[in-house]
Symmetry: D3
Subunit: 330 residues, 6 copies
């Protein structure tokens, strides 16, 4: 069925109860504290991106467990800052890629940070990569990252990735090229889930964001997603539970710590979401579950009725370019 | 079978006989002459692309039959030219899209022309489009553009598109922003086929190109392609001939006028090809058929053994950035 | 899901509101008037069909824009008329085919008119074809005919086809072989949609039909169809709107002028529909939307619960043979 | 949709009306009486199973129509009986296979009877097979067994198979190795349907079972199953009715005689069901329809939320080993 | 791969060794003798086909084992004969259908016999059917008819069907409506295989045919077909042997008795074949294997390069209409 | 194509050159030495398997890096040993599962060791699991295990797994239940690859095996496998290299250290292989590459022509039961 989820009218008010652990905030406070036990220790080295209009830097900082996490920093050629900054997280399977791959926010005149997702990046490759340098990475799981360490929130893969995402924000708070007061987070799919995570955890980290722009975000309302779609990557969870039939309770408890709905409840930055009504990868009800629970009152969502997971693509980029310009001007 | 075509060692010397009509050059000379009967009449209007580092212009010129063809012209912000110029043609289903969608060659410091493909563009949309404004467009065909007017080279869709591609080159020869002596043509898939067409017809049009960089080019060695792959868009031809069973001779005669192999035989610009050995859309033997017949001696081909039609993507862009810089420096 | 649409009990009373433009009748009156500006100018030439029992004629008449539209006329060998007449329209991708392909109504003793669909016919081929001879045919669209010229009812492909269908009826009103007072229209899928269109526009054209027998009709309740099914050809619309994301309002406005539901509201001839409950090409709710809105009170619908788009096939032909015999006898 | 059927909360009380013929019991009494007209005439021959811990016997007895039906009898090596007995029926396409293939109940210390399904067995093969030795087997049907003889309950394939299943039980009532008072029936998919049939018909046959353990049972609530799933083997019924469009009433009347729901209504043995919520082969609502109608009050059902038709596999075997041990100890 | 089989140039001389049992002729002589032990006992009853131009008769005769086999006989309305006769056999899954379904040869002025295939017919249904009334039908097999009784040529399904096909010819030799000296056999796919069988066995039966016109014939060169294609129905054989891994020798020995190649070696009637080069159901090399071994010197083959199993359809019917007219005129 | 690989006659002599690193033996000697730096420290604890005829023990030993690796040890109930021993490795995605899941070799009277594959086991689950407790597990890779740490033989996943497999053998050399002189290794698919690895490395480890019985082994001749099949898990390698286009040389160098062909060249135990000619997961030429290079002269291979990756299943188990009995008797 082309539009397989709830009708749009129902989606617009869909705000389901989603399980939230009592110690959610304590868990993340402790997690971020632990991460801060490793000095952020950023390195920002110029790199040849083959472009005349953009300067790129190869950034490394200490993510979860102190592991080195890579990012690109792109700025207008010759810029000295501080510049309003857009932090981009990437979709499942992707990563920062090659230096010239994605520079849209630098072209718009801002600083553009593009963070690697640890362990991922096979779809697109790139000159270097960020390993998931954790002993927990080898815990039994179905192929992919969705169930890596899923039996315990402490060992779960996305605990590390969300931590990386927050540490990336910490880097924006203290660098001469970056304007710490004007930071927007964005990304599509998993990148949208990470943008939500960053926005939801930013208050805990004492960081104020100027905006959060998640597109067709992944990692929201897992229970519904797993019941609703056969598509990867949500499907990885069902695949795991189809084998380990007695691990469902533990797995969903872990997922409640990283559920985008619970993070949205804590996010206060102005928000621009997008959703696609034929999206079988990130079903629209899971996106609306996060959107309708999003705490910040200054929020909007662009609806693409006839799109699958590609969502709005260049149309949404155009909308974001306008919206971010207003955020930075405001 | 993952690598379904000839082994690489055989591909490297694969130069099959491909049917070439006797009046090939006469046909194209007459076609270009006819096109020149319409004044090129370019308009180049500034447009807001939402970017700080790039200036974009909305270009219109008279293509085949005098029909208005659209393109974007992107240049470094504030540039006054003349700049070395890269002309980009687009893949089947695509078009120039929105002004911010694709600016890589401007970012590299060049003028970047991005030409619409008439009638196409549904995959990605955009703020405007280029119609295939020809009475011949309504001639019976299978869905898609491959068989539109296929029974006669005079009415065939790609006759019009190839003409547009050449007229785009004519525009580069006389505009203050563009350096007429340093023009490279490029594109992937159909865009690669059009780059080959432009390079093959440029001598007829009296234009000297600095380079031709077709990626995984489409529109080459139709007879083999149709026999070898079930994938669209080549499949559209088999789909048409499966119904009109008595039109094969006429159709393949028409195709011989636009076969990338025959165009390659006439192309003299330095060339950088790419090919993917698991490419079911543009099988590697059809690419090598064009490459091995390419007339210019200064040619090379980058091989991506484990890729399907996505080919080299950012890796090939990196290779092109280096190669184009050398061409323009040379 | 095998039966993916509403349960039969709900289908039987399903009569949704479907958007109808205020100027619907004015639009079609003007359209038909414009068509009549071209003389119908029918030619009816005998053709060798290789059959002993049936005489066939190659018919040409001026369709929309005066373009020549082809049809076969089959009659019992030696018949001189006037004969009760069945007009058959064809399914998407098809056409009148070869002279011997489809003669069932002639075998039943009637005149059988089998009209080509302009631009189509690739599935089956045939000795000749009917081009969509219109400058509007080249307007940008997704592959196929569903979105050709869709941004304006004046340029939309089906405006021309519906006009052809009515002009075919005009031909039945003034030919010695045909009994103008006993004309039934029929067809399956797109042919069913055209039969509905013919029946809905016949009153405007001052033609009284003896019956309308659409099988699993296409072109009904587009908004629901596009949301409900991923199958082509309805899918072509979603495919187009997935790219041109800002064209949905214009497209659906255009579609409201050709929606079989709106045409059914104006059709008064006795009707025999068929519907298949597992039909993913023409979902049963879209068929019932037209059936339940069909204006004529003398109507019935045959339900095939376990069939996909093939519907009743020979069983429905048998039902039609009986029903048409009654209509012509009545 | 991953969980395509009713939500679990609704499934737990789903007890739909299912058509039951008035002469259901009379039909089966007559059928079993007719079968008893052939002497059971069991033969039990030792066979080399290549195993040290298990003795296997090749069993033959007179099934429906007196046809020879094969089974394996596995017992702990050297056992002389009488042993508590587990009768296993097999899934669609399977059969008893080779002697060493499946011995779990003998490993647990019981007698293990594994009955062939007449005509089937192509998936797995084996050293011998049980033919569906009936003239009715050649009656027109869609490929497979679901529609063989479906127009009349007297000729229907499953009438013969259900009879075989009951005759297998009769064998357990009079053999020195088997304890007639402690017999449990089990099986997965079709084997689960046969276990239900055996449990439902056992009272008619004057046999008291110690338990019935159907896993993801097939052959339940055909009307819903055929409307709900496109998967084989239920799909065979839709496939048949898609051709013979006028046979639906007769076919569903026949199916009502073998519907697991109607059999469950008559089954009194303690029961352990299993169901999988993503099971597209045997949709969960069809399983719950039988479970909720199951007459015996001592019943339970294990739910596997993330599994397709594989259901609980080794997890359910573990549950059965415990449950059967309790039944036999009780 | 679109053209997955040998290149056309190799196909044209492809005449592989195919296993032929020594007692091939003896087997078929005995089989036909045994069949003749049952009186043919044809009944030919008029039936209402709802058509004015064609008279239809419901025919029954004693096929293999004396089982009643059904056929339609269509003749021009009012014809009294004797008429040249075309015998049509049907494709796998089909049957004679409803009386109005297929009358092309009657329309051409001939007697048209359309024979049911025993046990089949689910695809299309019809008012009645021909059961495979044989005790052997219940022997274990994979779903479908390809492996029914395959372990012994005496019990194999196609032994019975080929016998029916010959008995149908016997009927043509002694009926007032039919001209025994002008009989052509034809059919597509399985119907083509049966036409080959009829032509190959006709000499044994003392019948002289005027022509044999098999389209994309099935049942030829089984060993290659099973190794070459995954498509049903050839796939049924691999499916069976995948389970019963030790039955391959017996199965292929049986198949050698019905292999169209061996029957073609014995066929002497003038022949018109057709073949499609993208036919995955009946791969072209299996068709050419039969064609190149066809004994009659007056043979031709129409090649459809871009078609899958649909082959030439109406184009081939046109060719047949011409060719048959010549045969009957000759 | 059903049989997509080389014809059987060519397979039987197919012994391609496969890249072998010069330091192959040094690498593995060092690897095993390093592993032996951790005491094997086996624990063997009785566990309730719910079976009467088999005693099961939960085994843990120090695998690669000293990580705890789990296995089941099944023996005939009450056995005290030493017993001839069969070591079973498991297919990709599987693991030792639940204690009752697989006991065939204990049923045959032997000790049966069933080793977990570190990190895997999602397909089937089980009460416990073996983590891939290595910091290298988090190195970037495509989903699955094939490319985990693939850029360096020192970090590659299968280096650890092969080491586990050898350490499992070490355990057999010193346990009162096990007869160190009579040990056979076996397994299907990945389990077959591990059996080959164990047999190939056993001489290095100073262990003499009584037999090696790999079924449809995986992990052989990677270069051909990756070029030949699109099926997972080999496909994971192409998926990785499609992104990281510049890592092919490093990856294939690493794979040469674990290539089953190179292991087979060193294996001297008597061998019983199996191969399936329609196996798209482990193409037959990759199996024959290992078989034909297998060093031990006492070898045979069972061919299943009509099977995909399921291979011989129970038929091959039967063959193994006989063959192992002979090995242990010898």
């Amino acid at each position: 069925m082309a539009m397989f989820d709830l009708p749009l009218a129902e989606l617009e008010t869909y705000a389901p109860e989603v399980s939230e652990p009592e110690d959610f905030d304590a868990f993340w406070s402790a997690t971020l504290d632990e991460a801060r036990g490793h000095a952020l220790a950023p390195t920002v080295e110029p790199v040849d991106n083959r472009l005349a209009l953009v300067d790129s830097y190869d950034v490394t900082f200490a993510g979860a467990g102190g592991a080195p996490v890579r990012a690109w920093l792109h700025v207008p050629a010759g810029a000295t800052g501080p510049l309003p900054t857009v932090v981009q997280y990437h979709g499942y399977s992707g990563g920062r890629g090659l230096p010239h791959s994605s520079t849209i926010w630098a072209q718009a005149g801002y600083a553009h940070l593009s963070m690697d997702t640890r362990g991922q990046g096979w779809n697109g490759g790139g000159g270097s990569s960020t390993a998931d340098a954790s002993a927990d990475a080898g815990i039994n799981h179905a192929p992919g990252f969705m169930t890596s360490g899923i039996l315990d929130p402490a060992t779960y893969y996305y605990r590390r990735v969300y931590t990386d995402a927050v540490r990336m924000l910490e880097l924006t708070q203290d660098h001469p090229l970056l304007d710490a007061r004007r930071v927007v987070v964005t990304g599509g799919s998993q990148g949208g889930g990470l943008a939500l995570a960053a926005a939801g955890l930013a208050p805990l980290a004492g960081i104020e964001l100027a905006g959060c722009a998640p597109d067709v975000p992944f990692l929201c309302h897992f229970a519904r997603a797993v019941a609703l779609t056969d598509r990867h990557p949500y499907r990885e969870i069902a695949q795991y539970l189809a084998g380990w039939r007695d691990h469902a309770d533990a797995a969903f408890r872990t997922l409640s710590y990283v559920d985008g709905v619970n993070l949205a409840k804590r996010a206060v930055a102005p928000a621009l979401f997008s959703v696609a009504l034929m999206d079988l990868t990130c079903p629209p009800s899971t996106v609306y579950a996060a959107y309708n629970h999003y705490r910040g009152a200054d929020k909007q969502i662009n609806v693409y009725p006839y799109n699958d997971h590609e969502g709005g693509e260049a149309y949404q980029v155009a909308a974001q370019l306008d919206w971010v310009a207003e955020r930075f001007a405001g």
